[in-house]
Symmetry: C3
Subunit: 451 residues, 3 copies
């Protein structure tokens, strides 16, 4: 349970709010690269942390992320002309480059110096992994881009998508950091009866067995282990054969998770606040060389009746057929006889629970249990960091010499006798070491050119 005050601090992200100020200290996904398909293409409206922005790709391919409204008299630059390395306002032709510098003010006398006094708000961007990242904080506190492994990702391995969630970002985060609900919300009939395929033993179970374990032990024990980037936590279950299955999920401050996968993965899931009541769920590949199968859960859906969450829409924005307005197309007969939720789309099951909490859930009414340990820890980290900011506190998990964000890896395994789950997925894990060795011996691919 949170106090009303803490709930407000936790959830509000606009300019000048405590959490908004904290989030602005991190490089943040702003839009997908594919939304700006080429030089001088059509500008795109971007709403981020409660700010209305416009993104455009200039003649040289550079991306600008600027305030939507022209600093002159406020016309929307979304309707502007994207031409000759700048965005020109449709009202009086004032033109700004990607840095927000006014490079032409042709409605004023030729000798006017006024253009040097006018600046369009512009945020630094960095394109990496199919995503345009931006830094919305004060320039004097800007730290380097956090590379989760996208900077060296070969072009053909880039995969990034986003999907709209119509609720506060923290609700979506809390769902991502909740390993217990897969035993409930996402379940379907017959899973507990799946035949033992021989992988219910120490080591790496098949995905089918993983489903079986979740259905078998529906009250996982959670252990949270603090790290420099946030924490990793294990959801621990006993398998039908009495083995100890652990699913490790990573949390990197402020909004990033790597969901447990087999044997390990670095695939990122990030929850980016649009404003207080909406957020984007980004998911994208990183370091595919380490984990050639990409998302560990590819086969996850092979045994389930659900639609796969990672469809491949042309726009990069996965559409929503299942919404609050249509009750997520819940099928009560399906709910009675086939699936726990009655909802056929896996991710929409998550939307159903997180959005039905309301736009901003009132956490004074909640009753947290032992499976909410990771949720509680995330809140405490965020609240402490946000409240410490006005006193000069340094936000956690910023880029720094000792911070290699590519090493944040989730994992899933049936433990060997005496094995410590905290090793899994780390550099000390033999499976990871083997993968790194294999990657080093693989012929190099052409990396992305970081912007």
């Amino acid at each position: 349970m949170l106090s009303e005050e803490n709930n407000q601090i936790l959830t509000r992200v606009g300019p000048g709010t405590l959490m908004g100020d904290l989030l602005r200290r991190y490089w943040t996904p702003a839009l997908l690269s594919m939304e700006l398909p080429g030089p001088d293409c059509v500008p795109v409206r971007v709403r981020l942390l409660g700010e209305n922005l416009v993104a455009f790709r200039d003649t040289e391919g550079k991306v600008g992320l600027v305030a939507e409204n022209c600093p002159h008299r406020g016309a929307s630059l979304y309707f502007g002309r994207n031409e000759e390395c700048g965005l020109r306002c449709p009202y009086h032709g004032w033109k700004f480059d990607t840095e927000g510098t006014c490079v032409d003010m042709p409605s004023e006398p030729a000798d006017s110096t006024f253009k040097y006094k006018v600046k369009l708000t512009s945020y630094p961007v960095h394109e990496s992994g199919g995503i345009v990242w931006a830094y919305l904080g004060p320039r004097e506190t800007m730290t380097p881009f956090r590379d989760f492994g996208t900077d060296s990702l070969p072009e053909e391995k880039v995969y990034a998508r986003k999907q709209l969630a119509r609720c506060n970002w923290v609700q979506t985060m809390e769902g991502n950091l909740d390993s217990a609900h897969i035993s409930w919300l996402h379940q379907f009939n017959g899973v507990a009866d799946l035949p033992d395929d021989g992988t219910d033993k120490p080591g790496y179970p098949s995905n089918a067995m993983a489903w079986k374990f979740w259905a078998h032990d529906r009250a996982p024990r959670l252990e949270v282990h603090d790290t420099w980037y946030g924490y990793r936590y294990a959801a621990i279950r006993t398998t039908p054969n009495g083995n100890t299955n652990v699913r490790i999920t990573e949390y990197c401050v402020p909004y990033s998770t790597v969901v447990a996968s087999n044997p390990f993965t670095t695939r990122q899931l990030m929850v980016v606040p649009i404003d207080d009541e909406n957020c984007w769920r980004y998911n994208f590949t990183t370091q595919v060389d380490l984990n050639p199968n990409g998302y560990g859960g590819e086969n996850l859906f092979a045994v389930s009746p659900f639609e796969t969450p990672f469809r491949n829409p042309g726009s990069g924005i996965t559409p929503r057929e299942y919404t609050a307005e249509n009750d997520y197309l819940i099928d009560r007969e399906d709910q009675r006889t086939s699936t726990f939720s009655g909802i056929r789309d896996f991710v929409s099951q998550d939307f159903m629970v997180t959005e039905s909490m309301g736009p901003i859930y009132d956490r004074t009414k909640e009753h947290l249990a032992t499976t909410d340990k990771a949720v509680i820890r995330m809140r405490n980290i965020l609240l402490k960091a946000a409240k410490g900011l006005p006193d000069g506190g340094q936000p956690p998990a910023l880029a720094g010499p000792d911070h290699d964000f590519r090493k944040i890896r989730s994992a899933e395994k049936n433990l060997e006798p005496g094995e410590d789950w905290r090793i899994l997925g780390t550099d000390d894990d033999p499976v990871v070491q083997e993968a790194m060795l294999a990657a080093a011996n693989r012929p190099p691919t052409t990396p992305n050119t970081p912007a």
Copy 2:
């Protein structure tokens, strides 16, 4: 005219408001029984007095009316699984019975006692007359169900419907307690010219003659008579032949009316606040044995060009074709030549005037006249009761040994010389006595089993 303060007190119904607290002291229609057609059926969203609730019928047929959001992390229980005598949350499988008791918390360790500490808000319900009634007030002030005659109603005589009004409940109530407007809003051409069918004399006029009287004397005199349950009032008109016609309407605190009928009726019309800006109009039969024709106004519409208000939709919720958005389908040619309002649906004529006052009418701007006596009296009773509550005042018209709500009966008649209208419809009225005698001699029918 009301002060702004009194208008706020009168109209606001949310938790913690004066009027909201008063209304919570009464058993209130929450939904129709037919909305929960059988054991383990689909749950139903209910919004009542500004609270979001879910109703469900469990495996044994018992109805639960509970808070919509799970006390764990707030997912909507509307999407829950209604199974094995309880509603199970779709997120983590926590399960609650109709009392709100957590009967299963399977995501927690088997030996956890946490489930005994978690309670889902649940309100007592009582099913009667095709309606699920609920008590939303504090348990310590709960009084018995007020039986308006539905508890003993035979199954085949049960009739209950509801229709949505998109305005504050008091506006709808005031329309129901306003006998004058039938001479105007609901009129149509040619009524005054209807031939005298011989019933314009002391006694019970035909429905056609009733229409004729309303059209003939369009400025009725109102007399209000206070009673233990609220009041009854008479609208008194002089007929073309010089007789005195009275229409008696009952008001039972807080939101119930019995509209004048011939010779008398107990048919209820209740106005139940959904929130401050919406309400349900419930209407339902009671004590049909006393009044075999049910609603006295069945023939009322035979002489009128209007659609009958009591259609019989399968869902129990009468749909609205005539809305503010379509100007209530007003036909100006019809208004000029045929009907006073230009609106062909009788009840929609009421919606047009009450909804067009705005979501919450500003009563500082009104100018009340002599025909508003009953309206004023209702407000005074409600305001006095609501304001007295914090000082321990006892709300009027609660269940009690001397309070037989079945005796609340409206009536309509042309008075005999010297006859007192206050007798009509009461136990002292010979017509009522005769009906009671006939009912007593009729073979018994199987009553509903009260829950």
Copy 3:
């Protein structure tokens, strides 16, 4: 840049606001005469300065403009019966004439005097030039109607239209007082290359040459000249042949402009606030005898690819196909290759820039330049007048013996050597004198009968 406080004062128009009080001192277009096509026609909802009103034309043709809600119990008089010189409430038949006097209260006893105590809010109206004008201020400060030349306009020359703008009225005003943007927003390809048709010399250029001048000199110099009615300002451009082109636009307090035209015009453009976030753009003819071609810009669109703004819809309300919801149908290919804005409708180009500033633009964020001189002057005049009102300040530009609003005329010309632009369009301008003489010698036409 404005302070937040001044921005609020400038933009808010509801009852009791400073600017709302100022605007209520002027006769204001309320609706088009053609919206009330004949005696006893259907009433019309009017929202004006944040007030909900109803307009009706009575049996004798007189127009009433009254509060929407009946003073009795608030039912909307829009649904009322417009009959026998009054509007009758649909609820209880109370009837009001165009003055708001209760002329019938038939639901009350025949000898009741209550009707003399009840008054429906009614505003004085004056029909002129196809427009129903109203005065919404206090009666004691009412001044005569300001005749811009419509009172004597022959019936067949009356032309008045309105179109909805979904933004604060000041944004629309500022667009109308901004001669610079025609060199940008409204431009299209090839204009600068139009052949010299011989009118790029001192005197009156052709419309094609005017377009050429705007495209040639895209940074006009603005000069503002204060007048008794507000101001007139000139946008001064150098033509390809080195001549000095001036476009003079008139501003009459509070919301009226006459846009520069060739040789001169009195055609009015008025921006009438519906409420804080919506306004009507009225445009109408005046004194056609002086300027037989009516709107000077008839040929303006002959050389452009744009749709003409002055379409002739039956209702008088020009519909909007180009809206914020459809991004004003912007065609990015058209924007790249043909027009500056990519929007094919001339007026919708204006809507795009003024509406995309948001419902009420935050002027603390703007950066005004030399082309905004006229915009700044308008704001200063309005703010000074509004702030002075509580201290008894007299609003400018009210009707008075020395104030002939028919003399407010815009003009456009290439200046003769030594010519002062301040003379153009005034009584001292030979072209105007010639037109007045011609008008005086023309046979008289039947003027409108002012109401």
